[in-house]
Symmetry: C2
Subunit: 330 residues, 2 copies
Amino acid sequence: VNEHERVEALRRLFGSAAPASPSQHLRVDLGIGDDAALLSLQGAGARIVVTVDEQVEDAHFRLSWLSFEDLGFRSTMAAASDVAAMGGRASACFSSLVVPRSLGDEDLLAIARGQALAASHLGAVVAGGNLARGAALSIGTTVLGSVEGLGLRRDGARPGDALWLAGPVGRAGAGLAMLATQAQGVALEGGAVGAAAQVCLEAWRRPEARQKAGLAAAAGGATALIDISDGLAADAGHVARASGLRLVLEERPLLADATLATVASRIQRSPLGLALGGGEDYALLAATPPGTSLPGFVRIGRCESGAPEVIVERVDGTREPPPLGWDHFR
Amino acid sequence: VNEHERVEALRRLFGSAAPASPSQHLRVDLGIGDDAALLSLQGAGARIVVTVDEQVEDAHFRLSWLSFEDLGFRSTMAAASDVAAMGGRASACFSSLVVPRSLGDEDLLAIARGQALAASHLGAVVAGGNLARGAALSIGTTVLGSVEGLGLRRDGARPGDALWLAGPVGRAGAGLAMLATQAQGVALEGGAVGAAAQVCLEAWRRPEARQKAGLAAAAGGATALIDISDGLAADAGHVARASGLRLVLEERPLLADATLATVASRIQRSPLGLALGGGEDYALLAATPPGTSLPGFVRIGRCESGAPEVIVERVDGTREPPPLGWDHFR
């Protein structure tokens, strides 16, 4: 049983729950299965977008990999990215901290500073939370935002649509690879290698939810939108399955990032493998009808009719399946 | 530094974040400091109530104390109680599970069944969530609901107001005391003692958020409302501080619960101590202007002008301070 199957089982179970009663002002329009849930409130034009995310010590991060302020910033942005991926605008963040006794009050405030900073980058505030004791540090984040109409879901892509990417992919994966193999010293080297390595470490430690790009995708007529948290290939697979078509990703634009190429070469990793398999950059992948272009996005492929799958088109025109993605619930 | 001081420090820090921009449809009306946050969505008559809560293994529960279904039920109700405590109606629950490898897929589904059952008792649905690996089991719950107007806060009680309680207090504390001292065998005894002990264990394992009572308090003109999660004395203290007055709790109605008296006597605990200090019954404490009465509530005291404090009035008319409450962040 993998993460996808577990989520499907939960969706079936929760789907059998009682529907909203007529006396309710607040109703669920979209539940489990997309980047975020959508709710509507009687009388309002916009809908509410809601998402929850959790960052757990030793599962998602080690304390030696980043500062407490980084941790607060990154956990807030990781959650807010799901709101951006619906074409929404974040308004309020809620933090649920499980904190071991070894963590001092100054460390707690540093986490909170990172959360407040990330929220302010998004034009949002931290509006509530919870503090509890536990053996390992864990940060749960709920983000509420608003979205026009029904939001940008994963299931709207159509054959012939172009695929677009906002933000580089693979850099955070390269940063994480350095941290996990204790190769972060590369960032202290002089010249282009050290500078590129710093960028990749920062990409993992301080990702930005691409809210402006998501709003641009909504305004620009995108048919589908998703954020890249598990890796481009895996997340493109979610769109392929939900929309029922083949996504063709072109190798050439994915290899255009000199920063990624420099670091990948230094740490002996495949830049294409990092671009396709490395998650946590929180780039956005959009589909648009042919002939549309999206400001802030780079064109990286297209949708074809066919069995739901993701295919990589090499520079020489040959096609091959992408590397396997990341299962956060391994 | 205690939990109250930590929350104050966080409130100051998050209070300095950027306010909502004019382009935002969703705005925060009430942030950190009450049972839940309130947000308003442009054009809507009702407001959105949001709360997050976390139940952590070995901090809030031990796996030997309850079933996985109990755990899902109780964590959902504990969170939903904060929505009830604003006079709101829950609509959507979001679950963030941190799950150790030792927990099987059947156990995970049992937790989810408990969550779905609790949501359905409230007329709500589970609309999303997150699954992550971690060393200890932890359940984060976000509940969204709606409320008319500005909700029932902690700061509206006035001198002369009557105090009302919906639901018994102390039973869950008695149940927890049995579990923590491995005295749950009392529930297997025959007669009134065993039956009362079963009620107290159930009060802790399957609490109900008192949503109907909260709606009745809102409709009945209550001036303040709070749920009893940390113990009646401690939570009454929150109302006393927020409203700037003295709360007088009368011993007589608090000693009227024969179930609590029976169990307290058997496990050699003070029934008044359990009623005042035992948390997690999720009863509701309301204040109303003099002359009002609240259906579903029992009158237990009154508000007086004076320094913010909680005083217990004994049956013989003498007054004394209550026992100290529970700090979840010890």
